[in-house]
Amino acid sequence: MDSKSSPFILSLLAFSIVLLLWELTVRFSGWSEHVFPGPSIVIISFCELIANGTLFKHSVASLFRVTAGFYLAMLFGIPFGIFLGRLETARLFFNPIIQFLRPISPLAWIPLSMLWFGIGDKPAVFLIFLSSFFPLVVSTTIAVSSINPIYFQVAANFNFSRSEVVTKVVIPAIIPEVVTALRLTVTIAWLVVVAAEMIAVQSGLGYLILDSRNALRMDYVMDGMIAIGIIGLFLDNIMRKLGRTDSAFWGSVV
Protein backbone atom coordinates (compact mmCIF):
# COMPACT_ATOMS: atom_id res chain seq x y z
CA MET A 1 0.00 0.00 0.00
CA ASP A 2 1.52 3.33 -0.95
CA SER A 3 0.53 6.59 0.63
CA LYS A 4 -1.68 7.45 -2.31
CA SER A 5 -4.33 4.83 -1.53
CA SER A 6 -7.50 6.59 -0.52
CA PRO A 7 -8.52 6.62 3.13
CA PHE A 8 -11.88 5.17 2.11
CA ILE A 9 -10.30 2.05 0.63
CA LEU A 10 -8.11 1.61 3.68
CA SER A 11 -11.02 1.85 6.11
CA LEU A 12 -13.03 -0.55 3.96
CA LEU A 13 -10.11 -2.94 4.14
CA ALA A 14 -9.90 -2.61 7.92
CA PHE A 15 -13.61 -3.36 8.30
CA SER A 16 -13.31 -6.38 6.00
CA ILE A 17 -10.46 -7.76 8.09
CA VAL A 18 -12.53 -7.35 11.27
CA LEU A 19 -15.47 -9.13 9.63
CA LEU A 20 -13.21 -11.96 8.52
CA LEU A 21 -11.65 -12.37 11.97
CA TRP A 22 -15.11 -12.30 13.51
CA GLU A 23 -16.35 -15.04 11.18
CA LEU A 24 -13.24 -17.16 11.81
CA THR A 25 -13.53 -16.77 15.58
CA VAL A 26 -17.17 -17.85 15.47
CA ARG A 27 -16.33 -20.91 13.31
CA PHE A 28 -13.44 -22.12 15.43
CA SER A 29 -14.66 -21.17 18.93
CA GLY A 30 -17.46 -23.66 18.73
CA TRP A 31 -19.79 -21.37 20.66
CA SER A 32 -23.50 -21.53 19.94
CA GLU A 33 -24.82 -18.82 17.66
CA HIS A 34 -27.13 -17.75 20.48
CA VAL A 35 -24.10 -16.75 22.51
CA PHE A 36 -21.84 -15.48 19.76
CA PRO A 37 -23.61 -14.94 16.46
CA GLY A 38 -21.47 -14.60 13.34
CA PRO A 39 -21.49 -11.68 10.90
CA SER A 40 -23.85 -13.31 8.41
CA ILE A 41 -26.57 -13.83 11.00
CA VAL A 42 -26.08 -10.32 12.38
CA ILE A 43 -26.25 -8.75 8.94
CA ILE A 44 -29.41 -10.65 8.07
CA SER A 45 -31.11 -9.63 11.31
CA PHE A 46 -29.86 -6.06 10.81
CA CYS A 47 -31.71 -5.95 7.49
CA GLU A 48 -34.71 -7.46 9.22
CA LEU A 49 -34.71 -4.75 11.88
CA ILE A 50 -34.35 -2.08 9.21
CA ALA A 51 -37.18 -3.56 7.16
CA ASN A 52 -39.67 -3.72 10.03
CA GLY A 53 -38.75 -0.20 11.20
CA THR A 54 -37.54 -1.21 14.66
CA LEU A 55 -34.04 0.13 14.20
CA PHE A 56 -35.32 3.38 12.76
CA LYS A 57 -37.77 3.88 15.61
CA HIS A 58 -35.16 3.29 18.31
CA SER A 59 -32.51 5.36 16.56
CA VAL A 60 -34.88 8.29 16.29
CA ALA A 61 -35.74 7.97 19.97
CA SER A 62 -32.06 8.01 20.98
CA LEU A 63 -31.19 10.82 18.58
CA PHE A 64 -34.07 12.89 19.89
CA ARG A 65 -32.80 12.59 23.47
CA VAL A 66 -29.21 13.34 22.54
CA THR A 67 -30.26 16.33 20.45
CA ALA A 68 -32.49 17.74 23.16
CA GLY A 69 -29.93 17.29 25.95
CA PHE A 70 -27.07 18.47 23.79
CA TYR A 71 -28.89 21.60 22.62
CA LEU A 72 -29.81 22.46 26.18
CA ALA A 73 -26.18 22.02 27.19
CA MET A 74 -25.06 24.29 24.32
CA LEU A 75 -27.74 26.84 25.10
CA PHE A 76 -26.68 27.16 28.73
CA GLY A 77 -23.08 25.94 28.70
CA ILE A 78 -21.56 28.19 26.03
CA PRO A 79 -23.01 31.49 27.31
CA PHE A 80 -22.11 30.49 30.86
CA GLY A 81 -18.58 29.65 29.71
CA ILE A 82 -18.30 33.05 27.98
CA PHE A 83 -19.51 34.74 31.16
CA LEU A 84 -16.92 32.90 33.26
CA GLY A 85 -14.19 33.56 30.73
CA ARG A 86 -14.87 37.30 30.75
CA LEU A 87 -15.26 37.75 34.51
CA GLU A 88 -12.40 36.58 36.65
CA THR A 89 -14.34 36.93 39.90
CA ALA A 90 -17.15 34.76 38.59
CA ARG A 91 -14.58 32.25 37.39
CA LEU A 92 -12.91 32.04 40.79
CA PHE A 93 -16.33 31.72 42.41
CA PHE A 94 -17.77 28.97 40.20
CA ASN A 95 -14.65 27.05 39.26
CA PRO A 96 -14.36 24.93 42.43
CA ILE A 97 -18.00 23.83 42.13
CA ILE A 98 -17.60 22.96 38.46
CA GLN A 99 -14.38 21.07 39.05
CA PHE A 100 -16.08 19.17 41.86
CA LEU A 101 -19.18 18.19 39.85
CA ARG A 102 -17.38 17.50 36.59
CA PRO A 103 -15.68 14.19 37.45
CA ILE A 104 -18.92 12.68 38.75
CA SER A 105 -20.06 10.37 35.98
CA PRO A 106 -23.47 11.27 34.57
CA LEU A 107 -24.45 7.65 35.28
CA ALA A 108 -24.11 8.35 39.00
CA TRP A 109 -26.96 10.80 38.57
CA ILE A 110 -29.34 8.11 37.30
CA PRO A 111 -31.08 7.41 40.64
CA LEU A 112 -31.62 11.09 41.41
CA SER A 113 -32.70 11.96 37.90
CA MET A 114 -35.30 9.17 37.93
CA LEU A 115 -36.56 10.37 41.26
CA TRP A 116 -36.78 13.97 40.08
CA PHE A 117 -38.01 13.47 36.54
CA GLY A 118 -39.76 10.11 36.69
CA ILE A 119 -39.82 7.72 33.79
CA GLY A 120 -39.56 8.75 30.14
CA ASP A 121 -37.49 11.14 28.07
CA LYS A 122 -36.88 13.71 30.78
CA PRO A 123 -34.35 11.87 32.98
CA ALA A 124 -32.42 10.72 29.91
CA VAL A 125 -32.34 14.24 28.50
CA PHE A 126 -31.21 15.51 31.89
CA LEU A 127 -28.35 13.01 31.95
CA ILE A 128 -27.26 14.02 28.44
CA PHE A 129 -27.42 17.63 29.49
CA LEU A 130 -25.18 16.94 32.50
CA SER A 131 -22.70 14.96 30.46
CA SER A 132 -22.31 17.78 27.92
CA PHE A 133 -22.78 20.85 30.07
CA PHE A 134 -19.63 20.69 32.21
CA PRO A 135 -17.15 19.92 29.43
CA LEU A 136 -18.68 22.70 27.31
CA VAL A 137 -18.49 25.23 30.13
CA VAL A 138 -14.89 24.36 30.90
CA SER A 139 -13.72 24.43 27.27
CA THR A 140 -15.54 27.68 26.54
CA THR A 141 -14.13 29.33 29.65
CA ILE A 142 -10.60 28.33 28.73
CA ALA A 143 -11.09 29.44 25.14
CA VAL A 144 -12.38 32.85 26.19
CA SER A 145 -9.72 33.52 28.79
CA SER A 146 -6.97 32.64 26.34
CA ILE A 147 -8.08 35.10 23.64
CA ASN A 148 -5.16 37.33 22.67
CA PRO A 149 -5.60 40.57 24.68
CA ILE A 150 -4.64 42.57 21.61
CA TYR A 151 -8.08 41.87 20.15
CA PHE A 152 -9.76 43.45 23.16
CA GLN A 153 -7.48 46.45 22.80
CA VAL A 154 -8.46 46.74 19.15
CA ALA A 155 -12.11 46.57 20.24
CA ALA A 156 -11.57 49.32 22.82
CA ASN A 157 -9.66 51.38 20.29
CA PHE A 158 -12.60 51.28 17.88
CA ASN A 159 -15.14 52.01 20.64
CA PHE A 160 -16.86 48.61 20.56
CA SER A 161 -19.88 48.33 22.81
CA ARG A 162 -20.06 45.45 25.29
CA SER A 163 -22.31 43.44 23.00
CA GLU A 164 -20.04 44.12 20.04
CA VAL A 165 -17.09 42.80 22.03
CA VAL A 166 -19.00 39.54 22.50
CA THR A 167 -20.37 39.20 18.97
CA LYS A 168 -17.38 40.55 17.02
CA VAL A 169 -14.46 39.40 19.14
CA VAL A 170 -15.29 36.75 21.73
CA ILE A 171 -17.58 34.48 19.73
CA PRO A 172 -15.55 34.38 16.50
CA ALA A 173 -12.35 33.98 18.50
CA ILE A 174 -13.56 30.89 20.34
CA ILE A 175 -15.33 29.12 17.47
CA PRO A 176 -12.40 26.81 16.61
CA GLU A 177 -12.03 25.64 20.22
CA VAL A 178 -15.76 25.37 20.80
CA VAL A 179 -16.24 23.26 17.67
CA THR A 180 -13.55 20.89 18.93
CA ALA A 181 -15.27 20.77 22.32
CA LEU A 182 -18.63 20.07 20.68
CA ARG A 183 -17.12 17.16 18.77
CA LEU A 184 -15.73 15.60 21.92
CA THR A 185 -18.88 16.32 23.88
CA VAL A 186 -21.32 14.85 21.39
CA THR A 187 -19.36 11.62 21.61
CA ILE A 188 -19.74 11.58 25.38
CA ALA A 189 -23.44 12.41 25.08
CA TRP A 190 -23.90 9.54 22.70
CA LEU A 191 -22.15 7.18 25.12
CA VAL A 192 -24.37 8.33 27.95
CA VAL A 193 -27.70 8.13 26.14
CA VAL A 194 -27.32 4.43 25.50
CA ALA A 195 -26.58 3.80 29.17
CA ALA A 196 -29.47 6.00 30.28
CA GLU A 197 -31.89 4.15 28.02
CA MET A 198 -31.09 0.88 29.70
CA ILE A 199 -32.77 2.16 32.82
CA ALA A 200 -35.42 4.76 32.46
CA VAL A 201 -37.19 4.26 29.17
CA GLN A 202 -38.94 1.85 26.81
CA SER A 203 -37.36 3.00 23.57
CA GLY A 204 -34.00 3.91 22.09
CA LEU A 205 -31.00 1.89 21.07
CA GLY A 206 -30.01 1.29 24.69
CA TYR A 207 -33.43 -0.14 25.36
CA LEU A 208 -33.21 -2.26 22.19
CA ILE A 209 -29.97 -3.80 23.40
CA LEU A 210 -31.26 -4.48 26.90
CA ASP A 211 -34.56 -5.84 25.64
CA SER A 212 -32.82 -8.12 23.14
CA ARG A 213 -30.55 -9.44 25.83
CA ASN A 214 -33.58 -10.32 27.92
CA ALA A 215 -34.99 -12.12 24.89
CA LEU A 216 -31.60 -13.82 24.41
CA ARG A 217 -31.27 -12.38 20.90
CA MET A 218 -27.55 -11.62 20.79
CA ASP A 219 -27.79 -10.85 17.09
CA TYR A 220 -30.15 -7.97 17.89
CA VAL A 221 -27.79 -6.83 20.63
CA MET A 222 -25.04 -6.61 18.03
CA ASP A 223 -27.35 -4.84 15.58
CA GLY A 224 -27.95 -2.23 18.23
CA MET A 225 -24.22 -1.85 18.76
CA ILE A 226 -23.62 -1.45 15.03
CA ALA A 227 -26.33 1.19 14.77
CA ILE A 228 -24.74 3.05 17.69
CA GLY A 229 -21.35 3.00 15.96
CA ILE A 230 -22.74 4.21 12.64
CA ILE A 231 -24.72 7.05 14.21
CA GLY A 232 -21.71 8.05 16.33
CA LEU A 233 -19.62 8.41 13.18
CA PHE A 234 -22.35 10.46 11.60
CA LEU A 235 -22.64 12.81 14.60
CA ASP A 236 -18.90 13.40 14.61
CA ASN A 237 -19.04 14.24 10.93
CA ILE A 238 -21.80 16.81 11.41
CA MET A 239 -19.79 18.52 14.14
CA ARG A 240 -16.72 18.61 11.97
CA LYS A 241 -18.63 20.25 9.12
CA LEU A 242 -19.97 22.87 11.51
CA GLY A 243 -16.56 24.51 11.85
CA ARG A 244 -15.66 24.29 8.21
CA THR A 245 -16.28 27.85 7.07
CA ASP A 246 -13.54 30.33 6.32
CA SER A 247 -14.30 32.76 9.10
CA ALA A 248 -14.62 29.95 11.65
CA PHE A 249 -11.37 28.33 10.62
CA TRP A 250 -9.20 31.39 10.87
CA GLY A 251 -7.19 29.75 13.63
CA SER A 252 -6.29 26.51 11.93
CA VAL A 253 -3.91 27.96 9.39
CA VAL A 254 -0.82 29.22 11.12
Binding site: Q153, A156, N159, P172, I175, W250
Partner: protein, 264 residues
Protein backbone atom coordinates in the same frame (compact mmCIF):
# COMPACT_ATOMS: atom_id res chain seq x y z
CA UNK B 1 -4.41 66.77 15.46
CA UNK B 2 -3.38 67.75 18.90
CA UNK B 3 -0.22 68.37 20.72
CA UNK B 4 0.91 65.94 23.36
CA UNK B 5 2.38 66.54 26.76
CA UNK B 6 3.78 63.77 28.93
CA UNK B 7 4.28 65.01 32.46
CA UNK B 8 6.27 63.28 35.22
CA UNK B 9 5.19 59.92 33.94
CA UNK B 10 6.10 56.92 36.11
CA UNK B 11 5.11 53.33 35.67
CA UNK B 12 5.70 50.39 37.96
CA UNK B 13 4.57 46.84 37.41
CA UNK B 14 3.74 44.58 40.32
CA UNK B 15 5.69 41.36 40.17
CA UNK B 16 3.07 38.60 39.99
CA UNK B 17 5.49 35.80 39.31
CA UNK B 18 6.51 33.55 42.17
CA UNK B 19 10.23 33.06 42.26
CA UNK B 20 11.73 29.61 41.89
CA UNK B 21 12.22 27.53 45.02
CA UNK B 22 15.79 28.32 45.93
CA UNK B 23 16.08 32.05 45.55
CA UNK B 24 16.92 34.36 48.38
CA UNK B 25 14.42 34.84 51.19
CA UNK B 26 12.53 37.70 49.59
CA UNK B 27 11.13 36.07 46.49
CA UNK B 28 10.14 39.34 44.88
CA UNK B 29 6.49 38.46 44.69
CA UNK B 30 4.31 41.52 45.08
CA UNK B 31 7.30 43.85 44.79
CA UNK B 32 6.90 46.66 42.34
CA UNK B 33 9.26 46.91 39.41
CA UNK B 34 9.77 50.44 38.13
CA UNK B 35 9.83 50.56 34.35
CA UNK B 36 9.35 54.20 33.41
CA UNK B 37 10.97 56.86 35.55
CA UNK B 38 9.86 60.47 35.40
CA UNK B 39 9.30 60.87 31.69
CA UNK B 40 8.69 64.42 30.51
CA UNK B 41 8.11 64.98 26.82
CA UNK B 42 6.25 67.34 24.57
CA UNK B 43 5.35 66.71 20.94
CA UNK B 44 3.90 69.25 18.53
CA UNK B 45 0.79 68.44 16.59
CA UNK B 46 1.40 66.82 13.24
CA UNK B 47 4.86 65.65 14.23
CA UNK B 48 6.28 62.26 13.41
CA UNK B 49 8.02 61.20 16.60
CA UNK B 50 10.33 58.21 16.57
CA UNK B 51 11.06 56.53 19.87
CA UNK B 52 14.22 54.45 20.18
CA UNK B 53 15.55 52.32 22.97
CA UNK B 54 16.86 48.89 23.85
CA UNK B 55 14.29 46.14 24.03
CA UNK B 56 12.53 45.86 27.36
CA UNK B 57 13.08 49.51 28.25
CA UNK B 58 9.38 50.31 28.33
CA UNK B 59 8.66 51.74 24.89
CA UNK B 60 5.54 49.64 24.40
CA UNK B 61 4.44 50.41 27.94
CA UNK B 62 4.70 54.13 27.28
CA UNK B 63 2.74 53.84 24.04
CA UNK B 64 0.04 51.80 25.77
CA UNK B 65 -0.31 54.49 28.44
CA UNK B 66 -0.53 57.22 25.78
CA UNK B 67 -3.18 55.18 23.95
CA UNK B 68 -5.14 54.68 27.16
CA UNK B 69 -4.78 50.88 27.23
CA UNK B 70 -2.78 51.02 30.45
CA UNK B 71 -2.63 53.48 33.32
CA UNK B 72 0.39 55.24 34.73
CA UNK B 73 1.50 54.81 38.31
CA UNK B 74 1.89 58.56 38.58
CA UNK B 75 2.08 61.46 36.19
CA UNK B 76 -0.19 62.14 33.26
CA UNK B 77 -0.45 62.31 29.53
CA UNK B 78 -2.34 65.18 27.95
CA UNK B 79 -3.54 65.10 24.38
CA UNK B 80 -4.74 68.48 23.19
CA UNK B 81 -4.82 69.67 26.77
CA UNK B 82 -7.09 66.88 28.01
CA UNK B 83 -5.77 64.06 30.17
CA UNK B 84 -5.98 60.62 28.60
CA UNK B 85 -8.52 58.37 30.25
CA UNK B 86 -9.06 55.25 28.24
CA UNK B 87 -8.79 54.24 24.60
CA UNK B 88 -10.52 56.21 21.90
CA UNK B 89 -10.81 56.08 18.15
CA UNK B 90 -9.11 59.49 18.07
CA UNK B 91 -5.81 57.69 18.68
CA UNK B 92 -5.46 54.52 16.70
CA UNK B 93 -2.86 51.98 17.75
CA UNK B 94 -1.07 49.90 15.13
CA UNK B 95 0.12 46.78 16.87
CA UNK B 96 3.59 45.29 16.87
CA UNK B 97 2.38 42.00 15.50
CA UNK B 98 -0.80 42.06 13.52
CA UNK B 99 -3.76 43.70 15.24
CA UNK B 100 -6.12 42.72 12.43
CA UNK B 101 -9.03 40.62 13.63
CA UNK B 102 -8.20 37.27 12.01
CA UNK B 103 -11.83 36.20 11.59
CA UNK B 104 -12.64 39.23 9.48
CA UNK B 105 -11.67 39.87 5.88
CA UNK B 106 -9.52 42.83 4.86
CA UNK B 107 -12.70 44.66 3.93
CA UNK B 108 -14.42 43.97 7.25
CA UNK B 109 -11.30 45.00 9.17
CA UNK B 110 -10.93 48.29 7.32
CA UNK B 111 -14.65 48.93 7.78
CA UNK B 112 -14.44 48.55 11.60
CA UNK B 113 -14.02 52.23 12.36
CA UNK B 114 -16.78 53.25 9.95
CA UNK B 115 -19.36 50.70 11.05
CA UNK B 116 -21.73 53.36 12.39
CA UNK B 117 -21.66 55.44 9.21
CA UNK B 118 -25.21 56.04 8.00
CA UNK B 119 -24.57 56.43 4.30
CA UNK B 120 -23.78 52.90 3.13
CA UNK B 121 -22.72 53.97 -0.35
CA UNK B 122 -20.33 56.55 0.97
CA UNK B 123 -18.92 54.09 3.46
CA UNK B 124 -18.31 51.55 0.72
CA UNK B 125 -16.53 54.15 -1.38
CA UNK B 126 -14.36 55.23 1.50
CA UNK B 127 -13.34 51.70 2.52
CA UNK B 128 -12.51 50.94 -1.10
CA UNK B 129 -10.52 54.16 -1.46
CA UNK B 130 -8.31 53.34 1.53
CA UNK B 131 -7.86 49.73 0.50
CA UNK B 132 -6.65 51.00 -2.86
CA UNK B 133 -4.42 53.55 -1.19
CA UNK B 134 -2.47 50.75 0.49
CA UNK B 135 -2.54 48.77 -2.76
CA UNK B 136 -4.66 45.91 -1.50
CA UNK B 137 -7.32 46.01 -4.19
CA UNK B 138 -8.21 42.46 -5.13
CA UNK B 139 -7.59 41.28 -1.58
CA UNK B 140 -10.75 42.70 -0.02
CA UNK B 141 -12.19 39.26 0.69
CA UNK B 142 -8.96 37.72 1.92
CA UNK B 143 -8.49 36.82 5.55
CA UNK B 144 -5.37 38.12 7.32
CA UNK B 145 -3.69 34.71 7.34
CA UNK B 146 -3.91 34.71 3.55
CA UNK B 147 -1.78 37.89 3.34
CA UNK B 148 1.96 38.40 3.65
CA UNK B 149 3.34 40.24 6.67
CA UNK B 150 3.75 43.48 4.74
CA UNK B 151 0.22 43.31 3.37
CA UNK B 152 -1.13 42.77 6.87
CA UNK B 153 0.62 45.92 8.11
CA UNK B 154 -0.73 47.88 5.16
CA UNK B 155 -4.26 46.64 5.83
CA UNK B 156 -3.89 47.69 9.45
CA UNK B 157 -2.63 51.11 8.35
CA UNK B 158 -5.66 51.51 6.10
CA UNK B 159 -7.94 50.53 8.97
CA UNK B 160 -6.26 53.09 11.22
CA UNK B 161 -6.21 56.00 8.81
CA UNK B 162 -9.74 55.55 7.42
CA UNK B 163 -11.28 56.73 10.71
CA UNK B 164 -9.38 60.02 10.36
CA UNK B 165 -7.83 59.83 13.83
CA UNK B 166 -5.97 62.70 15.47
CA UNK B 167 -3.02 60.48 16.09
CA UNK B 168 -1.45 57.22 14.98
CA UNK B 169 0.52 55.17 17.45
CA UNK B 170 2.72 52.47 15.95
CA UNK B 171 4.64 49.90 17.93
CA UNK B 172 7.52 48.54 15.86
CA UNK B 173 5.48 48.59 12.67
CA UNK B 174 8.32 47.16 10.58
CA UNK B 175 9.49 44.35 12.81
CA UNK B 176 9.47 40.91 11.25
CA UNK B 177 9.40 42.20 7.68
CA UNK B 178 12.03 41.41 5.10
CA UNK B 179 14.41 44.21 4.12
CA UNK B 180 12.67 45.37 0.95
CA UNK B 181 9.18 45.23 2.48
CA UNK B 182 10.52 47.17 5.44
CA UNK B 183 11.95 49.89 3.18
CA UNK B 184 8.79 50.13 1.09
CA UNK B 185 6.49 50.30 4.08
CA UNK B 186 8.69 52.91 5.72
CA UNK B 187 8.41 55.03 2.61
CA UNK B 188 4.64 54.58 2.63
CA UNK B 189 4.37 55.65 6.24
CA UNK B 190 6.44 58.76 5.50
CA UNK B 191 4.30 59.56 2.45
CA UNK B 192 1.13 58.99 4.41
CA UNK B 193 2.38 61.31 7.10
CA UNK B 194 3.18 64.02 4.57
CA UNK B 195 -0.23 63.54 2.96
CA UNK B 196 -2.41 63.52 6.08
CA UNK B 197 -0.16 65.30 8.55
CA UNK B 198 -1.33 63.17 11.48
CA UNK B 199 0.61 63.25 14.69
CA UNK B 200 2.41 59.92 14.57
CA UNK B 201 4.33 58.11 17.27
CA UNK B 202 6.55 55.31 16.03
CA UNK B 203 8.49 52.99 18.27
CA UNK B 204 11.37 51.33 16.50
CA UNK B 205 14.62 49.66 17.38
CA UNK B 206 16.10 50.63 14.05
CA UNK B 207 18.16 53.82 14.38
CA UNK B 208 18.07 54.52 10.67
CA UNK B 209 14.28 54.25 10.64
CA UNK B 210 14.09 56.89 13.31
CA UNK B 211 16.57 59.21 11.63
CA UNK B 212 15.02 58.87 8.20
CA UNK B 213 11.40 59.22 9.28
CA UNK B 214 11.29 61.35 12.39
CA UNK B 215 10.55 65.04 12.84
CA UNK B 216 11.70 64.36 16.36
CA UNK B 217 13.54 61.48 17.96
CA UNK B 218 13.46 60.31 21.52
CA UNK B 219 16.01 57.87 22.88
CA UNK B 220 15.05 56.00 26.02
CA UNK B 221 17.24 53.91 28.23
CA UNK B 222 18.42 53.09 31.72
CA UNK B 223 16.78 51.05 34.40
CA UNK B 224 14.14 52.21 35.14
CA UNK B 225 14.19 53.98 31.89
CA UNK B 226 14.14 57.68 31.27
CA UNK B 227 14.63 59.99 28.31
CA UNK B 228 18.29 59.96 27.34
CA UNK B 229 18.02 62.17 24.31
CA UNK B 230 15.40 64.21 22.58
CA UNK B 231 16.15 66.01 19.35
CA UNK B 232 14.14 67.80 16.70
CA UNK B 233 15.21 66.82 13.18
CA UNK B 234 14.87 69.66 10.69
CA UNK B 235 16.01 67.84 7.61
CA UNK B 236 14.04 67.64 4.38
CA UNK B 237 12.83 64.29 3.01
CA UNK B 238 14.20 62.18 1.45
CA UNK B 239 17.10 62.15 3.87
CA UNK B 240 20.58 61.13 3.05
CA UNK B 241 23.26 60.34 5.60
CA UNK B 242 26.05 60.93 3.05
CA UNK B 243 25.01 64.52 2.43
CA UNK B 244 23.86 65.62 5.87
CA UNK B 245 26.92 65.70 8.11
CA UNK B 246 24.82 66.69 11.11
CA UNK B 247 22.51 63.70 10.64
CA UNK B 248 25.53 61.44 10.35
CA UNK B 249 26.96 62.74 13.59
CA UNK B 250 23.65 62.29 15.35
CA UNK B 251 23.54 58.73 14.05
CA UNK B 252 26.95 57.98 15.55
CA UNK B 253 25.87 59.58 18.79
CA UNK B 254 22.72 57.46 19.03
CA UNK B 255 24.61 54.29 18.18
CA UNK B 256 27.03 55.07 20.96
CA UNK B 257 24.20 55.84 23.34
CA UNK B 258 22.60 52.47 22.65
CA UNK B 259 25.81 50.66 23.39
CA UNK B 260 27.34 50.19 19.96
CA UNK B 261 30.66 51.98 19.84
CA UNK B 262 30.78 52.45 16.09
CA UNK B 263 28.12 52.68 13.46
CA UNK B 264 28.42 49.84 11.00
Amino acid sequence: MEHIVIKNLNKEFINRRHARRDSDDSNGFGKSIPVLNNINLEFQKGEMVCILGPSGCGKSTMLRIIAGFDTSTSGQVFIGGRPVNGPSSDNIFVFQHSGLLPWMTVWQNVELGLRHMEDKEKKKEKVQEYIEMVELEGFEDHYPYQLSGGMQRRAELARAIVVNPDMLIMDEPFSGLDFLTHMKLREEVVNMHELFGKTTLVVTHDIDDALVMGDRIVVMGGRPSGVKLERKLDFPHPRNFEKEAELRELRDEVFLMLGVSYAV
